[in-house]
Symmetry: C2
Subunit: 105 residues, 2 copies
């Protein structure tokens, strides 16, 4: 949910973003958020459920979270290869890295 | 427009996508598209204008096109450094690459 919020949070309204932030980042309960935002527990619950739906719909169409996780893996792998390269440079490894970058980034 | 369509095309309706594709990729005129899709030239014009607005609004909020262009540059720079590395491996270059990757991907 945190990755989805990073990717699509800007597409939510300020109110939706605020409630999702209080729930997922500040770890408040539905009741505490209701009190904090001057609304009902049920309304907070409905907003969170609606946000889930919105975020998953965007992910289904744009796959940003999936791409982000893939890029993180690419980054990790490049850095790992560069660590190897630092100690024993060789042509094969460099060529593998190149292919990997071309195929993945 | 092509980068924006790549990034956010899936958020348009099939009809919108089709018209944008005919206009930008198949290079048809408004009149030709109107004939092809059994509608009026004005309707085609309005749809294209509306799509522009939608695509730019998404870009304003998600910056996918901007990120994509940045990643292309990162990729180009990594590949250029690897070319150098292939001929004369040295520690400084490898460390520069690492910093570059960590800061940019």
């Amino acid at each position: 949910m945190s990755i989805l919020m990073d990717a699509y949070g800007n597409l939510l309204t300020d109110k939706q973003k605020n409630i999702m932030d209080l729930y997922y980042n500040c770890d408040l309960s539905l009741g505490e958020i209701a009190e904090h935002t001057d609304t009902t527990r049920q309304a907070v619950y409905d907003i969170i459920r609606r946000c889930h739906k919105i975020l998953f719909q965007y992910e289904e169409k744009l796959s940003l979270a999936k791409q982000k996780m893939k890029l993180e893996e690419v980054k990790k792998n490049i850095l790992r290869d560069l660590d190897l390269l630092e100690n024993s440079s060789n042509e094969e490894l460099v060529n593998n890295m190149k292919r990997y970058i071309v195929d993945n980034i």
